[in-house]
Protein backbone atom coordinates (compact mmCIF):
# COMPACT_ATOMS: atom_id res chain seq x y z
CA UNK A 1 0.00 0.00 0.00
CA UNK A 2 1.34 3.44 -0.93
CA UNK A 3 1.96 5.66 2.10
CA UNK A 4 3.23 8.55 -0.06
CA UNK A 5 1.53 9.56 -3.28
CA UNK A 6 2.67 12.45 -5.42
CA UNK A 7 1.01 13.39 -8.65
CA UNK A 8 2.62 15.68 -11.20
CA UNK A 9 4.40 17.92 -8.65
CA UNK A 10 5.70 21.23 -9.98
CA UNK A 11 7.85 23.85 -8.27
CA UNK A 12 8.65 27.02 -10.18
CA UNK A 13 11.36 29.61 -9.47
CA UNK A 14 12.61 32.76 -11.18
CA UNK A 15 15.51 31.83 -13.44
CA UNK A 16 18.62 33.53 -11.99
CA UNK A 17 20.31 33.48 -15.42
CA UNK A 18 17.59 35.28 -17.39
CA UNK A 19 15.58 38.30 -16.34
CA UNK A 20 11.92 37.67 -15.68
CA UNK A 21 11.93 34.09 -16.95
CA UNK A 22 10.93 31.17 -14.78
CA UNK A 23 11.98 27.57 -14.67
CA UNK A 24 10.59 24.42 -13.07
CA UNK A 25 12.97 23.12 -10.41
CA UNK A 26 10.59 20.17 -10.06
CA UNK A 27 8.79 19.44 -13.27
CA UNK A 28 5.93 16.96 -13.11
CA UNK A 29 7.22 14.48 -10.54
CA UNK A 30 4.89 11.59 -9.66
CA UNK A 31 5.75 9.08 -6.96
CA UNK A 32 4.13 6.18 -5.20
CA UNK A 33 6.11 4.99 -2.18
CA UNK A 34 5.00 1.91 -0.29
CA UNK A 35 4.76 1.43 3.45
CA UNK A 36 7.95 -0.05 4.90
CA UNK A 37 10.09 0.60 1.85
CA UNK A 38 13.41 2.43 1.58
CA UNK A 39 13.03 4.68 -1.42
CA UNK A 40 16.03 6.49 -2.87
CA UNK A 41 16.09 9.61 -5.01
CA UNK A 42 19.31 9.99 -6.97
CA UNK A 43 20.43 12.77 -9.22
CA UNK A 44 23.15 15.30 -9.86
CA UNK A 45 23.26 18.65 -8.01
CA UNK A 46 20.32 20.87 -8.98
CA UNK A 47 18.25 17.93 -10.25
CA UNK A 48 15.37 18.83 -7.87
CA UNK A 49 15.83 16.08 -5.26
CA UNK A 50 15.84 18.33 -2.18
CA UNK A 51 13.02 20.53 -3.53
CA UNK A 52 10.89 17.42 -4.10
CA UNK A 53 11.61 16.26 -0.56
CA UNK A 54 10.85 19.70 0.90
CA UNK A 55 7.49 19.83 -0.88
CA UNK A 56 6.64 16.42 0.59
CA UNK A 57 7.81 17.63 4.03
CA UNK A 58 5.52 20.70 3.85
CA UNK A 59 8.48 23.06 3.90
CA UNK A 60 7.89 24.40 0.40
CA UNK A 61 4.59 25.23 -1.30
CA UNK A 62 3.48 22.88 -4.06
CA UNK A 63 2.91 25.16 -7.07
CA UNK A 64 1.01 22.54 -9.07
CA UNK A 65 0.08 18.88 -8.65
CA UNK A 66 -0.86 17.13 -5.45
CA UNK A 67 0.76 14.99 -2.79
CA UNK A 68 -0.42 13.08 0.23
CA UNK A 69 1.19 11.14 3.05
CA UNK A 70 -0.88 8.52 4.84
CA UNK A 71 -3.88 9.78 2.81
CA UNK A 72 -3.54 13.35 4.16
CA UNK A 73 -3.17 16.10 1.57
CA UNK A 74 0.12 17.93 2.22
CA UNK A 75 -1.00 21.27 0.75
CA UNK A 76 -4.22 21.33 2.74
CA UNK A 77 -2.91 19.94 6.05
CA UNK A 78 0.85 20.52 6.20
CA UNK A 79 0.88 20.71 10.01
CA UNK A 80 -1.07 17.46 10.32
CA UNK A 81 1.40 15.72 8.00
CA UNK A 82 4.36 17.08 9.98
CA UNK A 83 3.07 15.29 13.06
CA UNK A 84 3.90 11.85 11.69
CA UNK A 85 6.95 12.47 9.54
CA UNK A 86 10.55 12.78 10.69
CA UNK A 87 13.01 14.93 8.77
CA UNK A 88 16.79 14.95 8.69
CA UNK A 89 18.05 18.03 6.84
CA UNK A 90 21.28 18.59 4.95
CA UNK A 91 22.22 21.41 7.35
CA UNK A 92 22.69 20.26 10.95
CA UNK A 93 22.73 23.48 12.92
CA UNK A 94 21.06 23.88 16.29
CA UNK A 95 20.67 26.55 18.95
CA UNK A 96 23.91 27.43 20.69
CA UNK A 97 24.38 26.71 24.37
CA UNK A 98 21.93 23.79 24.44
CA UNK A 99 22.93 20.22 25.18
CA UNK A 100 21.81 17.30 23.03
CA UNK A 101 19.38 16.21 25.76
CA UNK A 102 17.88 19.68 25.95
CA UNK A 103 17.54 19.89 22.19
CA UNK A 104 15.75 16.52 22.06
CA UNK A 105 13.42 17.67 24.84
CA UNK A 106 12.72 20.85 22.87
CA UNK A 107 11.92 18.99 19.65
CA UNK A 108 9.72 16.54 21.60
CA UNK A 109 7.84 19.48 23.12
CA UNK A 110 7.20 20.91 19.66
CA UNK A 111 5.21 17.70 18.95
CA UNK A 112 3.57 17.95 22.40
CA UNK A 113 5.43 14.79 23.38
CA UNK A 114 7.71 13.77 26.20
CA UNK A 115 10.63 11.52 25.42
CA UNK A 116 13.44 9.92 27.31
CA UNK A 117 16.29 11.75 25.59
CA UNK A 118 18.81 9.12 26.67
CA UNK A 119 16.93 6.29 24.98
CA UNK A 120 16.76 8.34 21.77
CA UNK A 121 20.49 9.03 22.00
CA UNK A 122 21.09 5.32 22.63
CA UNK A 123 19.42 4.51 19.30
CA UNK A 124 22.04 6.62 17.53
CA UNK A 125 25.00 5.68 19.74
CA UNK A 126 25.35 9.10 21.37
CA UNK A 127 24.48 8.46 25.04
CA UNK A 128 27.93 9.65 26.14
CA UNK A 129 27.30 13.00 24.43
CA UNK A 130 24.00 13.73 26.19
CA UNK A 131 25.43 16.78 27.95
CA UNK A 132 27.55 18.02 25.06
CA UNK A 133 26.63 20.94 22.84
CA UNK A 134 25.73 20.21 19.21
CA UNK A 135 28.59 22.35 17.90
CA UNK A 136 31.05 20.06 19.72
CA UNK A 137 30.03 17.02 17.67
CA UNK A 138 31.92 15.61 14.69
CA UNK A 139 30.28 15.36 11.26
CA UNK A 140 29.15 11.76 11.76
CA UNK A 141 27.87 12.45 15.26
CA UNK A 142 25.93 15.46 13.99
CA UNK A 143 24.27 13.34 11.31
CA UNK A 144 23.35 10.66 13.85
CA UNK A 145 22.04 13.32 16.24
CA UNK A 146 20.05 14.81 13.39
CA UNK A 147 18.36 11.43 12.93
CA UNK A 148 17.67 11.24 16.67
CA UNK A 149 15.91 14.62 16.37
CA UNK A 150 13.87 13.25 13.48
CA UNK A 151 12.75 10.31 15.64
CA UNK A 152 11.28 12.29 18.57
CA UNK A 153 7.73 11.89 17.23
CA UNK A 154 8.15 8.19 16.40
CA UNK A 155 7.43 8.94 12.71
CA UNK A 156 5.74 6.71 10.14
CA UNK A 157 7.92 8.17 7.41
CA UNK A 158 11.53 9.32 7.76
CA UNK A 159 13.04 11.73 5.21
CA UNK A 160 16.83 11.73 4.97
CA UNK A 161 18.49 14.35 2.77
CA UNK A 162 21.98 13.18 1.79
CA UNK A 163 22.55 11.60 5.20
CA UNK A 164 26.08 10.32 4.56
CA UNK A 165 27.59 13.25 2.64
CA UNK A 166 30.98 14.14 4.06
CA UNK A 167 31.22 11.13 6.37
CA UNK A 168 34.18 8.79 6.62
CA UNK A 169 33.56 5.10 5.72
CA UNK A 170 33.13 4.02 9.35
CA UNK A 171 30.56 6.73 10.09
CA UNK A 172 28.82 6.00 6.79
CA UNK A 173 28.51 2.28 7.49
CA UNK A 174 27.27 2.98 11.01
CA UNK A 175 24.59 5.27 9.61
CA UNK A 176 23.57 2.62 7.06
CA UNK A 177 23.13 0.13 9.91
CA UNK A 178 20.98 2.65 11.77
CA UNK A 179 18.81 3.26 8.68
CA UNK A 180 18.39 -0.51 8.14
CA UNK A 181 17.43 -1.01 11.80
CA UNK A 182 14.79 1.73 11.63
CA UNK A 183 13.43 0.25 8.44
CA UNK A 184 13.31 -3.21 10.01
CA UNK A 185 11.11 -1.68 12.72
CA UNK A 186 8.60 -0.78 10.00
CA UNK A 187 9.56 2.80 9.22
CA UNK A 188 9.21 3.99 5.63
CA UNK A 189 12.36 5.83 4.60
CA UNK A 190 12.91 8.24 1.71
CA UNK A 191 16.46 9.33 1.14
CA UNK A 192 18.36 11.39 -1.37
CA UNK A 193 21.98 10.57 -2.09
CA UNK A 194 24.87 11.07 -4.47
CA UNK A 195 26.38 7.81 -3.35
CA UNK A 196 25.55 5.00 -5.79
CA UNK A 197 26.79 2.31 -3.44
CA UNK A 198 24.52 3.64 -0.72
CA UNK A 199 21.54 3.65 -3.07
CA UNK A 200 22.31 0.13 -4.24
CA UNK A 201 22.84 -1.28 -0.73
CA UNK A 202 19.99 0.43 1.09
CA UNK A 203 17.16 1.16 -1.29
CA UNK A 204 14.33 -1.14 -2.26
CA UNK A 205 13.50 1.17 -5.15
CA UNK A 206 15.24 4.16 -6.69
CA UNK A 207 14.05 7.16 -8.72
CA UNK A 208 16.70 8.95 -10.76
CA UNK A 209 16.03 12.66 -11.31
CA UNK A 210 17.54 15.12 -13.73
CA UNK A 211 16.41 18.66 -14.64
CA UNK A 212 13.42 18.36 -12.32
CA UNK A 213 12.03 15.17 -13.87
CA UNK A 214 12.17 11.52 -12.93
CA UNK A 215 14.04 9.86 -15.77
CA UNK A 216 14.05 6.31 -14.36
CA UNK A 217 12.40 4.49 -11.45
CA UNK A 218 12.78 0.86 -10.41
CA UNK A 219 14.61 -1.52 -8.11
CA UNK A 220 18.41 -1.23 -8.21
CA UNK A 221 18.66 -4.66 -9.84
CA UNK A 222 16.19 -3.76 -12.60
CA UNK A 223 17.80 -0.38 -13.21
CA UNK A 224 21.18 -2.07 -13.65
CA UNK A 225 19.84 -4.70 -15.97
CA UNK A 226 17.98 -2.10 -18.04
CA UNK A 227 20.58 0.60 -18.22
CA UNK A 228 23.97 -1.05 -17.53
CA UNK A 229 23.63 -4.73 -18.51
CA UNK A 230 27.25 -5.11 -19.65
CA UNK A 231 29.44 -6.43 -16.85
CA UNK A 232 32.92 -5.06 -16.55
CA UNK A 233 35.50 -7.42 -17.97
CA UNK A 234 37.77 -7.25 -14.97
CA UNK A 235 35.68 -8.47 -12.09
CA UNK A 236 37.06 -7.93 -8.63
CA UNK A 237 35.51 -9.14 -5.43
CA UNK A 238 35.30 -5.76 -3.71
CA UNK A 239 36.13 -2.14 -4.17
CA UNK A 240 38.61 0.27 -2.57
CA UNK A 241 36.16 1.13 0.14
CA UNK A 242 35.98 -2.54 1.15
CA UNK A 243 39.79 -2.64 1.25
CA UNK A 244 39.86 0.46 3.42
CA UNK A 245 37.22 -0.96 5.75
CA UNK A 246 39.04 -4.31 5.98
CA UNK A 247 42.25 -2.58 6.91
CA UNK A 248 40.93 0.11 9.24
CA UNK A 249 38.02 -1.78 10.78
CA UNK A 250 34.32 -1.02 11.17
CA UNK A 251 34.49 0.66 14.56
CA UNK A 252 33.38 4.28 14.80
CA UNK A 253 36.26 6.69 15.41
CA UNK A 254 34.22 9.71 16.59
Amino acid sequence: MAIIKANNLIKTYADPDSNGKKFNAVDGVSLSIHTGEIFGILGPNGAGKTTTLEMLEGLKDIDAGSASINSIDISKNPYKVKEFIGVQLQANEYFDNMTLSELLNLFSALYNKKNDSLSLLKKVNLTDKANSYANELSGGQKQRFSIACALVNDPLVLFLDEPTTGLDPQAKRSLWDLIMNLNNLGMTIILTTHNMEEAQNLCDRIAIMDYGKIIAEDTPRELISKHAPERQKEVVSGNMEDVFMALTGHGLRD
Binding site: E54, E57, G58, L59, K60, D61, Y79, K80, K82, E83, I85, V87, L89, A91, N92, E93, Y94, F95, D96, N97, M98, E102, L106, F107, A109, L110, Y111, N112, C149, N153
Partner: protein, 362 residues
Amino acid sequence: MLTQKQLYLTKVFIQIFLRNKQYIIFSLILPMVILGIVAFNEGDEDPIDIGIVDKSNTILSQQFISRLSENNLFNIIIKNENSLKDDLISGKLKAGLVIPNGMTAKSRAADIKLLVDRSDIQFIQTIQPILNNSLLEIERELTKAEPLFILSLEDIKSRSLSYINFLLPGIMAFMLMNLSIAGSGFNVVEFRRRGILKRLFVTPIKPIDFVTSIVLARMAIVIAQLTIIFSFALFVLDVEVVGSLLTFYFMIMTGILMFLTLGFSIGSLAKSQESVGVLASIFIYPQLALSGVFFPVESLPEFIHPIAALLPLSILVESMRLVANEGLTFFELYSNFIGMVLWIMIGTFISTKLFIWKEVAG
Protein backbone atom coordinates in the same frame (compact mmCIF):
# COMPACT_ATOMS: atom_id res chain seq x y z
CA MET B 1 -4.24 31.60 25.14
CA LEU B 2 -0.65 30.46 25.08
CA THR B 3 0.07 26.89 24.00
CA GLN B 4 2.51 24.51 25.64
CA LYS B 5 4.73 24.68 22.55
CA GLN B 6 4.91 28.46 22.76
CA LEU B 7 5.74 28.37 26.47
CA TYR B 8 8.43 25.72 25.98
CA LEU B 9 10.03 27.64 23.13
CA THR B 10 9.87 30.84 25.21
CA LYS B 11 11.65 29.04 28.04
CA VAL B 12 14.31 27.82 25.62
CA PHE B 13 14.92 31.33 24.20
CA ILE B 14 15.32 32.72 27.73
CA GLN B 15 17.60 29.82 28.67
CA ILE B 16 19.80 30.43 25.60
CA PHE B 17 20.03 34.13 26.48
CA LEU B 18 20.89 33.49 30.14
CA ARG B 19 23.74 31.20 29.13
CA ASN B 20 25.33 34.00 27.10
CA LYS B 21 26.82 35.64 30.19
CA GLN B 22 29.30 37.79 28.29
CA TYR B 23 26.51 39.45 26.30
CA ILE B 24 24.47 40.06 29.45
CA ILE B 25 27.38 41.65 31.30
CA PHE B 26 28.41 43.92 28.42
CA SER B 27 24.86 45.05 27.71
CA LEU B 28 24.47 46.10 31.35
CA ILE B 29 27.88 47.57 32.02
CA LEU B 30 27.85 50.35 29.41
CA PRO B 31 24.62 52.07 30.51
CA MET B 32 25.63 51.67 34.16
CA VAL B 33 29.02 53.28 33.53
CA ILE B 34 27.48 56.19 31.59
CA LEU B 35 24.87 56.81 34.28
CA GLY B 36 27.47 56.45 37.03
CA ILE B 37 29.83 58.97 35.42
CA VAL B 38 27.01 61.47 34.94
CA ALA B 39 25.68 60.98 38.46
CA PHE B 40 29.04 61.37 40.17
CA ASN B 41 29.93 64.39 38.01
CA GLU B 42 26.83 66.34 38.87
CA GLY B 43 28.51 68.24 41.74
CA ASP B 44 31.00 71.03 41.09
CA GLU B 45 32.25 71.10 37.56
CA ASP B 46 35.98 71.09 36.84
CA PRO B 47 37.19 74.68 36.31
CA ILE B 48 38.25 75.73 32.80
CA ASP B 49 41.94 76.62 32.49
CA ILE B 50 42.36 80.11 31.03
CA GLY B 51 45.74 81.58 30.25
CA ILE B 52 46.05 85.36 30.75
CA VAL B 53 48.70 87.69 29.39
CA ASP B 54 48.63 90.97 31.28
CA LYS B 55 50.42 93.49 29.07
CA SER B 56 48.93 96.34 31.04
CA ASN B 57 49.83 95.34 34.60
CA THR B 58 47.68 98.12 36.10
CA ILE B 59 45.42 98.12 39.16
CA LEU B 60 42.43 97.71 36.88
CA SER B 61 43.88 94.76 34.99
CA GLN B 62 44.87 93.12 38.31
CA GLN B 63 41.34 93.72 39.57
CA PHE B 64 39.93 92.09 36.45
CA ILE B 65 42.19 89.04 36.86
CA SER B 66 41.38 88.66 40.53
CA ARG B 67 37.64 88.93 39.78
CA LEU B 68 37.97 86.14 37.22
CA SER B 69 39.98 84.06 39.70
CA GLU B 70 37.11 84.30 42.21
CA ASN B 71 34.81 82.59 39.70
CA ASN B 72 34.81 78.82 40.35
CA LEU B 73 34.33 78.16 36.66
CA PHE B 74 37.85 79.39 35.85
CA ASN B 75 41.36 78.44 36.77
CA ILE B 76 43.53 81.41 35.86
CA ILE B 77 47.09 80.83 34.70
CA ILE B 78 49.30 83.87 34.10
CA LYS B 79 51.40 83.50 30.97
CA ASN B 80 53.56 85.44 28.60
CA GLU B 81 52.23 85.90 25.07
CA ASN B 82 54.46 83.31 23.38
CA SER B 83 53.86 80.49 25.82
CA LEU B 84 50.12 81.24 25.76
CA LYS B 85 50.04 80.84 21.98
CA ASP B 86 52.09 77.64 22.18
CA ASP B 87 49.73 76.17 24.78
CA LEU B 88 46.68 77.12 22.75
CA ILE B 89 48.09 75.59 19.55
CA SER B 90 49.17 72.40 21.32
CA GLY B 91 45.75 72.14 22.98
CA LYS B 92 47.03 72.40 26.57
CA LEU B 93 44.75 75.41 26.99
CA LYS B 94 41.36 75.97 25.38
CA ALA B 95 41.20 79.74 25.88
CA GLY B 96 43.49 82.68 26.49
CA LEU B 97 42.93 86.35 27.29
CA VAL B 98 45.29 89.11 26.26
CA ILE B 99 44.88 92.36 28.22
CA PRO B 100 46.28 95.18 26.12
CA ASN B 101 48.65 97.91 27.26
CA GLY B 102 47.23 100.82 29.19
CA MET B 103 44.13 99.31 30.76
CA THR B 104 43.12 101.99 33.25
CA ALA B 105 39.88 103.45 34.52
CA LYS B 106 40.55 106.62 32.59
CA SER B 107 41.49 105.03 29.27
CA ARG B 108 39.06 104.33 26.44
CA ALA B 109 37.42 100.90 26.22
CA ALA B 110 40.21 98.33 26.39
CA ASP B 111 40.16 95.75 23.60
CA ILE B 112 40.68 92.50 25.55
CA LYS B 113 41.35 89.65 23.13
CA LEU B 114 39.86 86.20 23.72
CA LEU B 115 42.00 83.61 21.93
CA VAL B 116 40.07 80.43 21.15
CA ASP B 117 39.54 77.84 18.46
CA ARG B 118 36.64 79.39 16.51
CA SER B 119 35.33 75.94 15.52
CA ASP B 120 34.66 75.12 19.20
CA ILE B 121 31.31 76.90 19.05
CA GLN B 122 29.79 75.31 22.16
CA PHE B 123 32.80 76.28 24.30
CA ILE B 124 32.78 79.86 23.00
CA GLN B 125 29.04 80.11 23.65
CA THR B 126 29.65 79.05 27.25
CA ILE B 127 32.67 81.16 28.07
CA GLN B 128 31.89 84.43 26.26
CA PRO B 129 28.84 85.50 28.32
CA ILE B 130 30.64 84.72 31.57
CA LEU B 131 33.63 86.84 30.60
CA ASN B 132 31.36 89.64 29.40
CA ASN B 133 29.50 89.51 32.67
CA SER B 134 32.71 89.72 34.70
CA LEU B 135 33.83 92.74 32.72
CA LEU B 136 30.42 94.36 33.19
CA GLU B 137 30.54 93.82 36.94
CA ILE B 138 33.99 95.39 37.18
CA GLU B 139 32.84 98.31 35.06
CA ARG B 140 29.80 98.83 37.28
CA GLU B 141 31.99 98.73 40.36
CA LEU B 142 34.25 101.41 38.94
CA THR B 143 31.48 103.62 37.63
CA LYS B 144 29.35 102.98 40.75
CA ALA B 145 26.42 102.14 38.48
CA GLU B 146 23.55 99.98 39.80
CA PRO B 147 22.21 97.26 37.47
CA LEU B 148 18.82 98.09 35.97
CA PHE B 149 17.66 94.49 35.61
CA ILE B 150 18.29 91.27 37.50
CA LEU B 151 17.15 87.92 36.12
CA SER B 152 16.46 85.26 38.74
CA LEU B 153 15.29 81.67 38.17
CA GLU B 154 12.38 80.06 40.01
CA ASP B 155 11.37 76.44 39.43
CA ILE B 156 7.57 76.42 39.11
CA LYS B 157 7.44 72.68 39.82
CA SER B 158 9.43 72.99 43.03
CA ARG B 159 11.68 70.03 42.41
CA SER B 160 15.26 69.72 41.39
CA LEU B 161 15.78 67.98 38.07
CA SER B 162 19.30 67.35 36.96
CA TYR B 163 20.88 65.88 33.85
CA ILE B 164 20.75 62.35 35.29
CA ASN B 165 16.93 62.63 35.47
CA PHE B 166 16.94 63.64 31.82
CA LEU B 167 19.43 60.97 30.82
CA LEU B 168 18.00 57.92 32.62
CA PRO B 169 14.82 57.48 30.49
CA GLY B 170 16.86 58.22 27.35
CA ILE B 171 19.50 55.59 28.13
CA MET B 172 16.83 53.05 29.09
CA ALA B 173 14.85 53.64 25.88
CA PHE B 174 18.01 53.39 23.77
CA MET B 175 19.00 50.16 25.51
CA LEU B 176 15.47 48.83 25.00
CA MET B 177 15.68 49.59 21.27
CA ASN B 178 19.06 47.85 20.85
CA LEU B 179 18.08 44.75 22.81
CA SER B 180 14.76 44.40 21.01
CA ILE B 181 16.22 44.83 17.52
CA ALA B 182 19.02 42.37 18.34
CA GLY B 183 16.49 39.90 19.73
CA SER B 184 14.16 39.92 16.76
CA GLY B 185 15.88 41.09 13.54
CA PHE B 186 19.34 39.68 14.20
CA ASN B 187 17.98 36.42 15.63
CA VAL B 188 15.67 35.75 12.69
CA VAL B 189 18.40 36.33 10.12
CA GLU B 190 20.93 34.27 12.06
CA PHE B 191 18.48 31.39 12.62
CA ARG B 192 17.53 31.48 8.93
CA ARG B 193 21.16 31.60 7.76
CA ARG B 194 22.17 28.63 9.91
CA GLY B 195 19.14 26.56 8.94
CA ILE B 196 17.77 26.56 12.50
CA LEU B 197 14.46 28.06 11.36
CA LYS B 198 14.16 25.31 8.79
CA ARG B 199 14.84 22.70 11.47
CA LEU B 200 12.12 24.20 13.65
CA PHE B 201 9.61 24.35 10.82
CA VAL B 202 9.88 20.68 9.90
CA THR B 203 8.07 20.15 13.20
CA PRO B 204 4.38 21.09 13.43
CA ILE B 205 5.02 24.55 14.90
CA LYS B 206 3.50 27.52 13.13
CA PRO B 207 5.14 30.90 12.46
CA ILE B 208 2.82 32.44 15.07
CA ASP B 209 4.22 30.02 17.71
CA PHE B 210 7.76 31.07 16.85
CA VAL B 211 6.99 34.81 16.82
CA THR B 212 4.96 34.63 20.04
CA SER B 213 7.80 32.82 21.81
CA ILE B 214 10.43 35.32 20.64
CA VAL B 215 8.24 38.23 21.69
CA LEU B 216 7.52 36.75 25.13
CA ALA B 217 11.13 35.78 25.74
CA ARG B 218 12.49 39.15 24.64
CA MET B 219 9.84 40.98 26.64
CA ALA B 220 10.98 39.14 29.78
CA ILE B 221 14.68 39.60 29.00
CA VAL B 222 14.48 43.33 28.19
CA ILE B 223 12.23 44.10 31.16
CA ALA B 224 14.66 42.26 33.46
CA GLN B 225 17.66 44.14 32.05
CA LEU B 226 15.93 47.51 32.21
CA THR B 227 14.84 46.79 35.77
CA ILE B 228 18.46 46.18 36.74
CA ILE B 229 19.49 49.54 35.22
CA PHE B 230 16.47 51.29 36.74
CA SER B 231 17.16 49.82 40.21
CA PHE B 232 20.81 50.85 39.92
CA ALA B 233 19.72 54.42 39.13
CA LEU B 234 17.11 54.51 41.91
CA PHE B 235 18.97 52.83 44.73
CA VAL B 236 22.64 53.42 43.98
CA LEU B 237 22.61 56.76 42.16
CA ASP B 238 19.62 58.06 44.12
CA VAL B 239 17.71 59.24 41.06
CA GLU B 240 14.23 60.46 41.85
CA VAL B 241 11.22 59.30 39.80
CA VAL B 242 7.95 61.16 40.32
CA GLY B 243 5.56 59.28 38.00
CA SER B 244 3.72 55.97 38.31
CA LEU B 245 5.91 52.90 37.89
CA LEU B 246 2.96 51.06 36.37
CA THR B 247 2.61 53.66 33.60
CA PHE B 248 6.40 53.75 33.19
CA TYR B 249 6.55 49.96 32.69
CA PHE B 250 3.47 49.99 30.46
CA MET B 251 5.28 52.41 28.14
CA ILE B 252 8.37 50.19 28.28
CA MET B 253 6.34 47.10 27.29
CA THR B 254 4.70 48.97 24.42
CA GLY B 255 8.15 50.17 23.36
CA ILE B 256 9.55 46.61 23.41
CA LEU B 257 6.67 45.40 21.24
CA MET B 258 7.22 48.32 18.87
CA PHE B 259 10.95 47.65 18.41
CA LEU B 260 10.48 43.87 18.20
CA THR B 261 8.05 44.27 15.28
CA LEU B 262 10.35 46.82 13.65
CA GLY B 263 13.25 44.42 14.26
CA PHE B 264 11.32 41.62 12.55
CA SER B 265 10.83 44.00 9.59
CA ILE B 266 14.58 44.63 9.41
CA GLY B 267 15.19 40.87 9.63
CA SER B 268 12.69 40.28 6.85
CA LEU B 269 14.23 42.93 4.59
CA ALA B 270 17.80 41.72 5.15
CA LYS B 271 19.04 38.78 3.16
CA SER B 272 22.25 38.23 5.12
CA GLN B 273 23.85 38.85 8.51
CA GLU B 274 25.94 41.66 6.96
CA SER B 275 22.94 43.45 5.50
CA VAL B 276 20.97 43.15 8.74
CA GLY B 277 23.87 44.96 10.46
CA VAL B 278 23.82 47.76 7.89
CA LEU B 279 20.02 48.07 7.99
CA ALA B 280 20.02 48.10 11.79
CA SER B 281 22.69 50.85 11.78
CA ILE B 282 20.60 52.93 9.36
CA PHE B 283 17.66 52.46 11.72
CA ILE B 284 19.49 52.99 15.02
CA TYR B 285 22.05 55.78 14.53
CA PRO B 286 19.82 58.55 13.15
CA GLN B 287 17.47 57.89 16.05
CA LEU B 288 20.32 58.07 18.52
CA ALA B 289 21.15 61.54 17.16
CA LEU B 290 17.62 62.84 16.67
CA SER B 291 15.52 61.33 19.44
CA GLY B 292 16.72 63.29 22.43
CA VAL B 293 18.48 60.40 24.13
CA PHE B 294 21.44 62.44 25.40
CA PHE B 295 20.40 66.03 24.54
CA PRO B 296 17.02 67.72 24.24
CA VAL B 297 15.49 67.64 20.75
CA GLU B 298 15.08 71.43 21.15
CA SER B 299 18.86 71.81 20.79
CA LEU B 300 18.58 70.51 17.21
CA PRO B 301 17.83 72.81 14.24
CA GLU B 302 14.18 73.84 14.04
CA PHE B 303 13.43 72.05 10.74
CA ILE B 304 14.42 68.69 12.25
CA HIS B 305 11.89 68.88 15.11
CA PRO B 306 8.84 67.59 13.15
CA ILE B 307 10.87 64.66 11.74
CA ALA B 308 12.39 63.84 15.12
CA ALA B 309 8.97 63.85 16.76
CA LEU B 310 7.78 61.02 14.48
CA LEU B 311 10.68 58.66 15.17
CA PRO B 312 9.76 55.61 17.26
CA LEU B 313 12.61 56.21 19.72
CA SER B 314 11.60 59.87 20.16
CA ILE B 315 8.06 58.86 21.05
CA LEU B 316 9.28 56.29 23.57
CA VAL B 317 11.96 58.55 25.11
CA GLU B 318 9.46 61.38 25.51
CA SER B 319 6.84 59.08 27.04
CA MET B 320 9.26 57.57 29.54
CA ARG B 321 10.69 60.99 30.42
CA LEU B 322 7.28 62.57 30.91
CA VAL B 323 6.18 59.74 33.19
CA ALA B 324 9.43 59.57 35.19
CA ASN B 325 10.14 63.29 35.53
CA GLU B 326 6.79 65.02 35.13
CA GLY B 327 4.51 62.35 36.56
CA LEU B 328 2.18 62.33 33.53
CA THR B 329 -0.50 59.64 33.47
CA PHE B 330 -1.31 57.21 30.67
CA PHE B 331 -4.34 59.32 29.68
CA GLU B 332 -2.17 62.41 29.30
CA LEU B 333 0.15 60.40 27.06
CA TYR B 334 -2.47 58.71 24.89
CA SER B 335 -1.17 60.43 21.71
CA ASN B 336 2.30 58.96 22.33
CA PHE B 337 0.72 55.56 22.93
CA ILE B 338 -1.19 55.83 19.64
CA GLY B 339 2.07 56.78 17.92
CA MET B 340 3.73 53.61 19.21
CA VAL B 341 0.73 51.47 18.23
CA LEU B 342 0.97 52.90 14.69
CA TRP B 343 4.65 51.91 14.54
CA ILE B 344 3.72 48.42 15.80
CA MET B 345 1.19 48.16 12.96
CA ILE B 346 3.77 49.32 10.40
CA GLY B 347 6.33 46.81 11.75
CA THR B 348 3.82 43.95 11.73
CA PHE B 349 2.66 44.80 8.21
CA ILE B 350 6.19 44.92 6.77
CA SER B 351 7.40 41.76 8.49
CA THR B 352 4.36 39.66 7.61
CA LYS B 353 4.39 40.90 3.99
CA LEU B 354 8.10 40.41 3.43
CA PHE B 355 8.97 37.36 5.50
CA ILE B 356 7.75 34.31 3.64
CA TRP B 357 7.64 31.70 6.38
CA LYS B 358 6.94 28.87 3.97
CA GLU B 359 10.15 29.64 2.15
CA VAL B 360 12.42 29.66 5.20
CA ALA B 361 13.69 26.44 3.76
CA GLY B 362 15.13 28.37 0.83
